[in-house]
Amino acid sequence: MFKWLIALAASMALSMGVVSAQGQAAKTVAIISMNDTPQLLEVKDGVIKGLAERGYVEGKNLKIDFKSAQGNFGLAQQIARQFVGEKPDVIVAITTPASQAVAAATKEVPIVFTTVTDPLRAKVIGTFKHPGGNITGISDLVPTEQQIDLVKEILPKLQTLGLVYDPSLDNSRSTVDSIKELAKAKGFKTVESTAMGLNEVATAGQNLVGKVDAIFVPNDTTVYAAFEALVKVAQDTKTPLFTAERRSVQRGAIATVGYDFGDMGKATAEFVVRIFKGEKPGDIDAVYLKDDPKALSLYVNKAAAEKMGVAVPQSVMSRAAQIF
């Protein structure tokens, strides 16, 4: 059996000897994501596109290393260590747990977090302005006030709003809490229905039918992974369905005031480039994407609205940046 140990040791020695050949001018960006649901991959693609738009093209003067932890925390930690050991120019961390793992792994390598709804609560940074240290980034905090206002504009008689989300996602938890606060202030009720995995999304939707006037999805990657199932439930039961980002409106939700995960990624690329040019992450203010006036737009899916028996008022349609 020691044969196997020797084989393992040999392969380890081999890998230690392999030094990746890096061009002198090439920048390296290591991207870690907690898992590879389609939305998170959109963020990653957005980062790469955003970098290309700013002159850093993969293969020419940019090297990208992307790894997903498959939802496994032990693996996330090992990926974080792996990245830090390779000393990239920047590490981009997608999602809250990935950001925490990378932040715990290094205090030197620059880190840009993205798709983290509440970085203060997650203790990834201590403050938004001038965070100090080696981390900065973008929060995808959902502009819940504007979105709820939109829902009420389309459905003025809304009294009960259903919320479908995955209770294990911290980002969704933050958004749901925010909506519940708004509900108290604006005088409507909320009903929560949770889906622990994408197999339960349709059931979570069905549980709300009849109890709510509309369903809202708070940018939950689990629900988005099985979104078509929820759309079908909404269409079959004529329950209006709203979400917090653009791509899901294209897939069958009625409307949103939001951005999409690709835009999230492109905005992240901006931070990466600033660090390439020599700025320290601690000096770069972290931002909420929703505060960027160019980031939020109104999107409407007319066909979806008709299927759910909803007439979208002209005032909304005229403001829409894009109508699907």
Partner: protein, 299 residues
């Protein structure tokens, strides 16, 4: 592979070695397939995290987490012994219930621990360079737990537990309270697992309710892989094999992560795990049999 990744693999391997030891007790000693670890691992993380952000001393918080883990083990034992639910199902039920309980304990799915005092920060200033402190601390903890376990399994109660797992009816006939042995064994095993969860969360900088996913596979890879590579009758060697198995598993993953030239990606980890365990089982001199996997021969 960089030194940093190597040290990281050692640290992660040591942190999960405690789960491996716990799974050794349940799967090998007691012959009780215990999947509670998927719930007791994040339970340890949740309890310790919640206490840590409330300002409790890290060692006290971690100890309370261990006790919580023991209770999780007792629940599984209760479901199996008193309600007569099949052992593997009882453990799954407890793990499922713990998911909701962990959410309740934390109040939300994720608690950040990055600027909070942890067991690792209390160990700073001992004279070891700061980047090796977690490694040293974990090595000491794992070694202590392993030695205590070895001692325990050779005491009267420990021997009774081993007898209860090897041949329950014979043990019962000889005056061993098999039910109590299962309670104690599951309690210890899940206490160790919760300990592991608390240590890992403090190392990772967060406690997250999804942390338990995949833990049992890792633990079994360590136990099966370790004991197959180092087969032995003695307890001391078997527990060492579990610890080494956990470390080797993490080193193998770190190697796979680093070997981009082979074309392996992080998403191939599951396949890598399966292949490793298969290789370990086919190691020369060992017959591949189902009873071999369940450890009826070597305890």
């Amino acid at each position: 592979m960089s030194l940093y990744a190597f040290v990281g693999a050692l640290e992660t391997g040591l942190a999960f070695a405690l789960v491996a030891l716990g799974s050794y007790i349940t799967f090998r000693v007691l012959d009780f397939p215990d999947l509670t670890v998927e719930g007791s691992f994040p339970l340890g993380a949740a309890v310790s995290a919640q206490l840590l952000i409330s300002g409790v001393n890290p060692w006290v918080a971690t100890s309370i987490a261990v006790v919580a883990g023991c209770f999780a083990g007792f629940i599984t034992a209760f479901l199996n012994l008193k309600l007569r639910i099949l052992h593997i199902l009882a453990s799954i039920l407890t793990a499922i219930a713990l998911y909701s309980i962990n959410l309740r304990i934390m109040g939300r799915p994720n608690i950040g621990l990055l600027q909070v005092e942890t067991v690792y920060s209390t160990a700073e200033g001992v004279g070891i360079p700061s980047q090796y402190v977690p490694l040293a601390l974990l090595a000491v903890i794992v070694l202590l737990c392993k030695l205590l376990l070895d001692l325990f399994l050779n005491t009267g109660t420990g021997l009774a537990m081993r007898a209860a797992g090897a041949n329950p009816r014979m043990a019962q006939a000889n005056g061993v309270n098999v039910q109590r042995m299962i309670f104690v064994g599951l309690g210890i095993a899940n206490g160790l697992t919760a300990f592991s969860g608390a240590l890992f969360a403090q190392m990772m900088g967060a406690a997250d309710v999804s942390m338990g996913i995949g833990v049992i596979v890792v633990a079994l890879a360590a136990v099966i892989g370790g004991t197959a590579l180092m087969p032995s009758r003695s307890i001391v060697a078997a527990t060492l094999a579990c610890v080494l198995g956990s470390i080797l598993y993490r080193l193998a993953i770190a190697t796979a992560l680093n070997s981009g030239y082979i074309g392996l990606t992080a998403s191939d980890v599951n396949v890598v795990t399966a292949v490793l365990v298969a290789i370990a089982l086919f190691a020369p001199g060992r017959k591949f049999s189902l009873s071999g996997i369940l450890g009826r021969r070597t305890k």
